[in-house]
């Protein structure tokens, strides 16, 4: 292990970059802000790469650990570390930040510095969430990351942005405040420690576990979002600017799922087992019911937003069937969804920048004027519906297999998503892209430029590579997942 604190760098490089971008000031220096942002987004990705290349896949222990006393008064540490589960998300996040900066390059024309700064700071905070090993540090990053997204939705969002921004903020805050109480309770029970790894070993009675499980559930279920607390997501997605939607879908939703793995399952394993049927039911409702809801949407962004909820239902399902196939499948699904949903929102953003409409009915025959775009969009749509050879297939297939092992009917119900998902995604694609040109606005569209081609192509490569050869991803998580499952199986009572 080298002495370079890569995790701290992954957190603070983007944040410092964001502050520098802010310092460029007004829109007169917009291009300076853009280049500062690009440079730091790139730097953030570069400092994250050693986390993967230097990662030891044979152990489930935390790696790249850093630990300094932060607030000794409450025994709070600035403790960072990643295992096979979190390292992937740090990478994904740094990568998506770069995409977002490129995606917003020309699109954003007002308050460019603040826009870029918002995303960079958020990126650093989110890396902090994934690598925090101290409960309070985690919470602090978790809450603080709400602020940039709140501002981003509120300032650069659509017509109903204020409602969406406040709804987003209050929903997520409501959940996380209960988590704060749980953290304080655990602090007391563990005799004064906020170390998450200590909490994993802490013995707790069933009542305490139940309360803690519900407090964490309140926080993470909103964040994922699970049915029935999902209603903020479509609003937030529809109103957010493209970049906001990309980050929200690609990273934001993963925070809640990650929270389950880091907190709920290992800290309250018995309660998790006891409430698994509930979570599985809610997950299946999300997968099937929300899938049908997506089918009837007329707004493209809303459709993808609902499809995200449905896909995240798959993820929670994978977690709570407690077998390796399900859990690894869920993780693969999370990474894949990060690429695919990000790409879907980016594609819709490309269309929206030209037409200023997200209504499916306003489009038709786009393939005739934007062939390059249509090809890439096709790939992402297929990935979103989980067709083989794309990344979407791998995760869904693994979870479905795991679910069948667990219970045939659960697996059966979950697998219907392959049909419903294909139905809503491809139907939307067909209506938007194929057919004859329906109106003169469409006929005036220009195909994607080099900048747009570059970031969509990068995403496309990721989707394909992960679909054909997912081993580099599963290899990293293997040890940690097995260890986590062993931990969950052992009762704490």
């Amino acid at each position: 292990m080298t002495g370079i604190p890569f995790l701290s760098l992954a957190i603070w490089v983007p944040i410092v970059g964001g502050l520098l971008a802010l310092a460029t000031g007004s829109d007169r220096n917009a291009s300076a802000a853009r280049f500062v942002a690009l440079f730091f987004a790139l730097a953030g990705l570069v400092v994250s790469i050693p986390l993967y290349t230097g990662f030891d896949v044979t152990t489930s222990a935390m790696q790249f650990v850093e630990s300094y006393a932060w607030i000794p008064r409450f025994n709070i540490y600035y403790a960072l570390g990643v295992d096979g589960i979190s390292v992937l998300f740090v990478l994904l996040n740094s990568f998506i930040t770069l995409i977002v900066v490129i995606a917003g390059w020309e699109v954003i024309q007002v308050k460019v510095a603040q826009y870029m700064a918002g995303f960079l700071i958020m990126s650093g905070l989110i890396n902090g969430i994934f690598s925090a090993l101290d409960g309070v540090l985690f919470y602090v990053f978790f809450e603080a990351s709400l602020i940039p997204l709140f501002i981003i939705i509120g300032v650069w969002g659509g017509p109903n942005r204020v409602y969406a921004a406040i709804k987003f903020f209050l929903y997520t805050l409501a959940g996380s405040l209960l988590m704060l109480i749980a953290l304080l309770y655990l602090f007391m029970e563990s005799g004064g420690s906020f170390n998450i790894l200590d909490w994993h070993q802490l013995k707790l009675g069933m009542d305490a576990q139940t309360l803690i499980f519900w407090a964490f559930l309140a926080s993470f279920a909103v964040k994922i979002p699970m049915f029935p607390v999902h209603t903020w997501l479509p609003d937030a997605h529809v109103e957010a600017p493209t970049g906001g939607s990309i980050v929200l879908a690609a990273i934001g939703l993963k925070l809640g799922a990650y929270g389950f793995l880091r907190f709920s399952l290992p800290i309250a394993p018995d309660a998790s087992q006891a409430f698994a049927p509930l979570i599985i039911t809610l997950s299946l409702i999300a997968v099937i019911y929300i899938g049908f809801v997506a089918l009837v949407q007329t707004d493209m962004k809303k459709l993808v937003a609902y499809s995200s909820i449905s896909h995240m239902g798959f993820v929670t399902l994978g977690f709570f069937i407690f077998n390796p196939l399900g859990m690894e499948g869920a993780l693969v699904q999370m990474i894949s969804h990060g690429f695919v949903s990000g790409a879907m929102f980016a594609c819709i953003g490309v269309l929206y920048d030209r037409m200023h409409s997200r209504q499916i009915a306003d489009y038709g025959g786009v393939v005739n004027v934007m062939p390059k775009f249509a090809a890439l969009f096709m790939l992402f749509s297929m990935a979103n519906s989980g067709l083989p050879a794309t990344s979407g297939f791998v995760g869904e297939f693994m979870v479905a297999l795991g679910a069948v092992q667990f219970n045939f009917w659960v697996g059966f119900a979950a697998a219907t998503t392959l049909i419903v998902g294909a139905a809503y995604t491809l139907w939307m694609y067909k209506r938007v892209v194929f057919g004859a040109i329906t109106n003169h606005h469409v006929s005036e569209l220009t195909d994607i430029n080099n900048r747009e081609f570059v970031f969509l192509a990068i995403l496309a490569v990721c989707v394909l590579v992960m679909g054909i050869y997912p081993f580099p991803v599963t290899e990293v998580m293997h040890a940690s997942v097995n260890d986590l499952l062993k931990h969950v199986a052992a009762s704490k009572l």
Binding site: I71, A165, F169, L170, F187
Partner: protein, 469 residues
């Protein structure tokens, strides 16, 4: 004791500049004296009427600091309204003196004396804008209710005297400890003392004056009332309840619990309905004081006192952070006001981001901090208080408190919303003096910086309380 304040005699000169600088100089001088006499010992002076301990020293330093900042913030505002006068600075100094007396009192009557000195100065300050009907009304209301509260307090003190035969705080504690006091009379006294205290803190149901006074007083005076006196009120609570009536902790804790819960609920709910930012901050102040009481009520659990230091220092940390945030928030209100124009309503904050990104950012930080969002100091203030509450076993109260702070987040967010998401209706450039801009910026940065590194302030609070328990 630092009575360099008596320099006031020189203040009869006419030149306001000189008075202003003399006042600031006095504060610095008092701070210097306090630092020089700070030796970590508990010293009693003036035939045991005063006590000089670390808690007192720390609070007094915070007091000078906040009064000095308040004066810088308020100067431009007072000048614009032609009410900057020698009297203003003199009253401010008297109020400061009153608060200092409250902070280091070791005698019930000394506390009362300090309190009256403070209150009388404040009544006059509220009425400083003579031709404003609203300010006069506010002053009247403040005076009548304040006099009532003083009466309650004095009545309570007399009961305690009746029960224990002494008014010296440590003497009262001794008398109760030796079971020498009549419990019934003592309890009566306690109730009145707590009621008087609650009025000064402005917690429900003794909060009626807060919104009207905050709203009616000139913004600069509101700033004064909303900052330093909270420190003094906290000190008063510590002296009376903890130093004097600690044996009755079980009783007053349940009273404080009642007050705290009501304040948090009512303060947050009522703040939502306000469109006047001064009123809104008034209600938010009520809920903040409720939070502070949560810490005070978690000190003793079933006779077990080893939580006390943790709980009281979290309260102290809370009150210091609140003063910091309160100053910054009213500072921005003052910044936006100018001659003939009061930036009072939420609409006046519209599009502040377009007019000045930096100060919009400062205000946003203050609002997020008050809402208890990390990385700002307000989060750690709430965190430490909640930690004390959970440690004392009041989990349901902690849950209620966080639910209410969620509601609180809504109106703080609304301020951020109007600043960032709305278009400005007023494009006049901001006209504040350079010293105010610099100081306000530093105030904002301090809120963020102390949020990143709260350890120093937290341990200072804990350390300064060690000697006083």
């Amino acid at each position: 004791m630092s009575f360099a304040i008596l320099l006031i005699g020189t203040f009869v000169r006419d030149s306001r500049n000189i008075v202003y600088f003399l006042t600031q100089f006095t504060l610095v001088g008092a701070a210097a004296v306090t630092i020089m006499t700070m030796d970590g010992q508990v010293n009693f002076t003036f035939s045991n009427m005063y006590v000089d301990d670390l808690m007192g020293d720390f609070l007094k330093l915070m007091l000078y600091f906040s009064v000095a900042i308040v004066l810088v913030y308020s100067r431009g505002y007072m000048q614009d309204r032609k009410i900057e006068s020698t009297e203003y600075y003199m009253l401010a100094i008297y109020a400061t003196l009153g608060m200092m007396v409250m902070i280091s009192a070791n005698h019930f009557l000394t506390i009362y004396l300090g309190l009256e000195l403070l209150s009388l100065a404040l009544y006059a300050m509220v009425a400083l804008q003579r031709d404003s009907a609203r300010a006069t009304e506010a002053a009247m209301k403040y005076f009548v209710l304040g006099a009532l509260a003083s009466g309650l307090l004095l009545y309570g003190i007399s009961m305690i005297y009746g029960a224990t035969g002494t008014l010296e705080i440590s003497g009262v504690a001794q008398a109760i400890y030796h079971q020498a006091a009549n419990r019934t009379i003592l309890m009566f006294g306690l109730v009145f003392v707590v009621a008087g205290l609650a009025f000064k803190l402005g917690v429900v149901p003794f909060h009626m004056w807060i919104p009207d006074v905050y709203h009616g007083a000139p913004a600069a005076i509101t700033l004064f009332i909303a900052s330093a006196p909270k420190l003094a009120a906290f000190a008063m609570a510590m002296r009376l309840l903890v130093n004097g009536l600690f044996e009755l902790a079980d009783q007053w804790q349940s009273m404080l619990m009642f007050l705290a819960v009501l304040s948090i609920v009512l303060g947050n709910l009522a703040a939502i309905a306000q469109s006047n930012i001064k009123r809104m901050l008034g209600y938010s102040g009520i809920s903040h004081m409720g939070f502070m009481l949560l810490g005070l009520m978690s000190g003793v659990v079933g006779g077990d006192r080893h939580f006390a230091l943790n709980a009281y220092s979290s309260s102290m940390f809370y009150v210091v952070s609140y003063v910091l945030m309160s100053m910054a928030s009213f500072g921005v209100v003052l910044l936006l006001s100018r001659a003939g124009f009061e930036a009072e309503t939420l609409d006046d904050f519209k599009g502040l981001n377009k007019r000045s990104s930096w100060f919009a950012g400062v205000m946003a930080m203050v609002m997020f901090s008050m809402a208890g969002i990390p990385f700002f100091i307000g989060f750690f203030a709430k965190f430490s208080v909640l930690q004390a509450v959970v440690a004392a076993g009041y989990i349901w109260i902690a849950i209620l408190a966080v639910v209410m702070s969620l509601i609180g987040a809504f109106y703080y967010l609304r301020v951020v919303k109007v600043m960032f998401f709305d278009e400005p209706v007023d494009s006049t450039p901001l006209t504040a003096s350079a010293d105010m801009r610099v100081l306000l910026s530093m105030n904002g940065v301090a809120i963020a910086a102390l949020g990143l590194m709260p350890q120093t302030l937290m341990s200072l609070c804990a350390y300064s309380l060690l000697g006083s328990l």
